[in-house]
């Protein structure tokens, strides 16, 4: 027996619908207990977590509200449901005259790398930015190395590096540098370091942004 919105009906005896009434109360309590604090809990009705079933269409935002939902998103890593947000309308501010629509914006990605991947030449971490961008950052101690980004983005937009070292104990100019994107998932830091002078241990901080 499952929840019914047709019972109790005007039957000849309440005894006929007692089971239906009990089932409806029971089923409602069971359903509410999913993602919510259960009936009779001191916080009954509050959310405990929120599981979002994947939607196949973007919801229409109706009036003063915003909608968070899940739908498939295809990235270089494949297709998986991701969290999206849609605001009711785009109202540009300042000098922005763009007539954009309120397209859904992707809030999440499949993975983050919070512990860092350590190689002999660099350490790299990874997160993401709203709008389906991957964000990588870390330190490099050997500019001869090619820095490889994982997960692999579909395209690499930028790679920025900054020296953390001056040229020598008598020349406090920072190292010069440039970055060279080699492929959609690799880049290299270039520097003349201390020219023909001795090179002490050094490091470059870096970050890179790619399209997921």
């Amino acid at each position: 027996m499952s929840y019914t919105i047709e019972k109790p009906d005007p039957g000849p005896s309440p005894a006929l619908d007692a089971a239906n009434i009990r089932t409806n109360f029971s089923t409602f309590a069971t359903a509410l207990a999913v993602n919510h604090k259960a009936m009779n809990d001191s916080k009954q009705g509050f959310h405990s977590n929120i599981v979002l079933d994947k939607q196949t269409l973007d919801p229409t935002v109706d009036g003063a509200e915003a909608i968070i939902y899940a739908k498939d998103s295809t990235s270089n890593a494949g297709t998986e449901p991701q969290l999206f947000v849609r605001i009711p309308v785009f109202l540009p501010i300042g000098s922005d005259t763009t007539q954009a629509i309120n397209d859904p914006m992707q809030l999440t990605y499949n993975s983050v790398n919070t512990s860092g991947t350590v190689t002999a030449d660099y350490t790299i971490y990874q997160s993401f930015l709203i709008g389906k961008y991957l964000f990588y950052f870390g330190f490099c101690t050997n500019i001869a190395a090619t820095i490889t980004l994982s997960p692999t983005p579909s395209s690499l937009i930028l790679a920025i590096a900054s020296p953390n070292t001056v040229k020598s104990v008598s020349n406090f100019a920072p190292y010069d540098c440039s970055t060279q994107i080699l492929t959609s998932s690799t880049f290299k830091i270039n520097s003349t370091l201390n020219g023909s002078g001795p090179v002490n241990p050094y490091s470059f901080g870096f970050f890179a942004i790619g399209s997921a």
């Binding site: 409602f28 919510h36 509200e65 763009t98 309120n102 709008g131 930028l158 920025i160 440039s178």
Partner: protein
């Protein structure tokens, strides 16, 4: 189906006949079902209780949070629209999670531009440029109030020093352009910046 009014007070009296309470009970069951159907899979469905979407109706103030709670809600932002906010545990910090509509930019010559938002009313401009006209880097969309962080790196195999960057304030107080020139260790004047990747964080 019209949703009947939910009445938590029925059956009203123990002495009510079943003929009286039957339609009241039926109305309540219908109301419960219809109300729960908002943002949730149906009560009797395979995924009963699981959410479909999370429709956050605009609130007039910040949501209250007790210990061990966190709240997602929406609020109107002056000059913008309904945006998503987060409030941390125990009525802690409330901050804006969504800031601005992300959209595809119209690109300008010699500059490839993207932008995204960070929680807390920050916006990030990023991309690359080759040769800038009049040493001007455009910040698009043009809505920056303050520059709060930036970094540039020359592109390619030839190392160089990072360029010198100066915000250009408009009459309305916005900073929609940056003057970007080469670092010049010989003091021979400002030169054209080399092609660079750029990353600029602003308040909006």
């Amino acid at each position: 189906m019209t949703t009947p009014i939910y009445d938590p007070g029925v059956p009203e009296r123990p002495s009510d006949s079943y003929a009286t309470s039957q339609p009241e009970l039926l109305a309540n069951f219908i109301s419960l079902y219809q109300a729960f159907l908002k943002n949730h899979e149906p009560i009797s469905g395979a995924n009963q209780g699981v959410h479909t979407i999370l429709e956050l109706l605009q609130q007039t103030g910040d949501a209250q949070t007790d210990l061990n709670e966190i709240s997602f809600y929406t609020k109107n932002v002056d000059g913008q629209t309904t945006q998503v906010f987060v409030r941390i545990n125990n009525n802690g910090t409330a901050y804006q999670l969504t800031n601005y509509q992300i959209y595809s930019l119209n690109q300008v010559a010699n500059q490839t531009s993207y932008f995204t938002v960070l929680p807390g009313k920050f916006l990030v401009y990023f991309g690359s440029f080759t040769s800038l006209t009049n040493n001007i880097l455009n910040l698009n969309p043009p809505i920056a109030k303050n520059i709060v962080g930036l970094d540039f790196t020359p592109i390619g195999t030839t190392p160089n020093y990072k360029p010198v960057v100066n915000p250009i304030k408009e009459a309305n107080g916005e900073i929609n352009k940056l003057q970007v020139t080469s670092a010049n260790l010989q003091n021979t004047g400002l030169g054209t910046a080399p092609a660079c990747y750029y990353f600029v964080v602003v308040n909006i």
